[in-house]
Symmetry: C2
Subunit: 303 residues, 2 copies
């Protein structure tokens, strides 16, 4: 099954306790695709400026990412600059230059409307809804969002949440959106809007999947060091949807496995700056890490 | 097998987003015993002042906690006052009045020296070491500590760590003690001192057990609301050691199950102020929650 992703392809300046890089390849659509393309064909929708080196995406093309939906227009590429302290769950944004992304009108290339899955990366919820509506019969759709939209376009965001199958966000965003401090109560609120599942991202503390009748708690892979958390959430979503697209089933057990795949892929994403580790990552490597997750989380009743 | 615990029996003033209480029963030895006594006999060593109502410990006596080691001396009982914000992993201490605890000289009652397990709650590491040395042949010993001792009595603390089988602390304490930000590297440092295991407490994000050859990641029980996190770490340690004392085995698989028991008991501890929920808690209730942990963490390879 194929996955359509709409989001940014960007330049990132990143500083972490382990180093600093400038104008490296980044963006939500890039990070999602880097992960999801290990599992399934990806149709990418985004925009870059004339300053962007398309050859930097060759590794994605090589993995079957369809880049016909990547528009190149006059102007400069989306550019984000930020830093992380030792507490890697906290991001300090230095600047966000939307550049050509400011007037982004997502356009589906031929055949994209037949995509089976849709991932709406963090962006204007009205654009998210428009993209979703232009896919003919999505079997599974998921959106990501952020405080900016929760604050500034709440009604539009709620409308889009009502239209998707799954929502992913972090704890702060869930509390902002729901207006309650309890994550359980917040999850119930999101599910009451319509989605089948809420995938709560907790960074170094893993993820929690809430559905109407159950929840599933997944740890993060315990890395020696996290070099750069940028893109962790998008690669997590990419591994999650990628696994489901490859599997073609959506039982609750499939979804649990998908969460672990998302965690496993994200643990590679954060092991280097930009897409450094993702360029060469293979599915067997992810599957080995999946097995490690089984080992370090298992406990059995006493025989 | 019996467990000796040395620590505080105290009055607590506590304020959380859910309410405020004054001079309620608290203290590390109290919270540890409330949990451990569900599993095994407990020998308690502590001190209180004449202002303390011994009847408030009747529920512990009823569960087989030996209170002969609880000295009653002239003066006032240890009194702690603190508050928690919505981020319940952060404690703001208003005051700590050591009172009679300032001149505490732990004394073992008859038979205590034959205890099988020893839990050295957070206190002066030299007192911890002295208590440990007075137990004849402990099969398993564990210590807790805090920033105050890491900063102020580092050498003494290291000496005590070298003498115990297990150490429990939180992430900040591990980073302070080891001087490195990576929790893995910090854990290796602690294990290099001698202990067989480090039990890292992560509050609402669960716990990680590090041993020389493996680690085990356990989530916290996902509660609707945490009413009062006071005592969570001590009841976690109590459930952990209690389970092992009841089982009598220390395989790595036993230790994993013990971590989940610790998490399960702690989830009851934090559901009410003071020992409100612990007074009536029963082992079958904990075991039901243990089963829930299995349900919300399980994931299987695809058949």
């Amino acid at each position: 099954m194929s996955i359509l992703v709409v989001g940014t392809v960007a330049f990132d300046d990143i500083e972490t306790p382990f180093g600093a890089v400038e104008r490296v390849l980044g963006g939500s659509a890039t990070h999602f695709s880097s992960a999801a393309s290990l599992y399934a064909p990806v149709n990418l929708v985004s925009v870059v400026g004339k300053d962007f080196d398309l050859a930097s995406l060759d590794y994605l093309r090589g993995r079957g990412v369809d880049l016909r939906g990547l528009e190149v227009v006059d102007g400069e590429t989306f550019h984000w600059s930020g830093r992380y302290d030792y507490d890697l769950n906290v991001t300090e944004t230095r600047f966000t230059k939307l550049n050509v992304y400011a007037s982004f009108e997502p356009k589906l290339a031929d055949g994209y409307a037949e995509s089976d899955f849709v991932f709406l990366a963090n962006m204007d919820p009205m654009l998210q809804l428009r993209v979703l509506a232009s896919v003919k019969a999505p079997r599974l759709s998921m959106l990501d969002t952020m405080n900016y939209w929760i604050d500034g376009m709440r009604d539009e965001l709620l409308e889009t949440i009502r239209a998707v199958d799954m929502v992913t966000m972090n704890e702060t965003e869930l509390r902002m959106l729901s207006g309650v401090s309890s994550l359980h109560a917040g999850a119930r609120y999101v599910l009451s809007l319509g989605p089948r599942a809420l995938l709560l991202k907790k960074g170094e503390d893993g993820a929690v999947l809430f559905t109407k009748n159950e929840y599933f708690v997944a740890p993060a892979y315990p890395l020696e060091d996290v070099y750069d958390p940028t893109g962790a959430g998008d690669s997590f979503a990419g591994g999650f949807m990628g696994y489901l697209a490859r599997t073609g089933d959506f039982t609750n057990d499939d979804i649990r496995r998908a969460v672990i795949h998302g965690s496993a892929v994200a643990s590679f994403q954060v092991a280097d700056f930009s897409v450094g580790r993702m360029r060469t990552l293979t599915l067997p490597e992810v599957e080995r890490r999946y097995s490690e997750f089984r080992e370090f989380t298992r406990f059995e009743p006493r025989q």
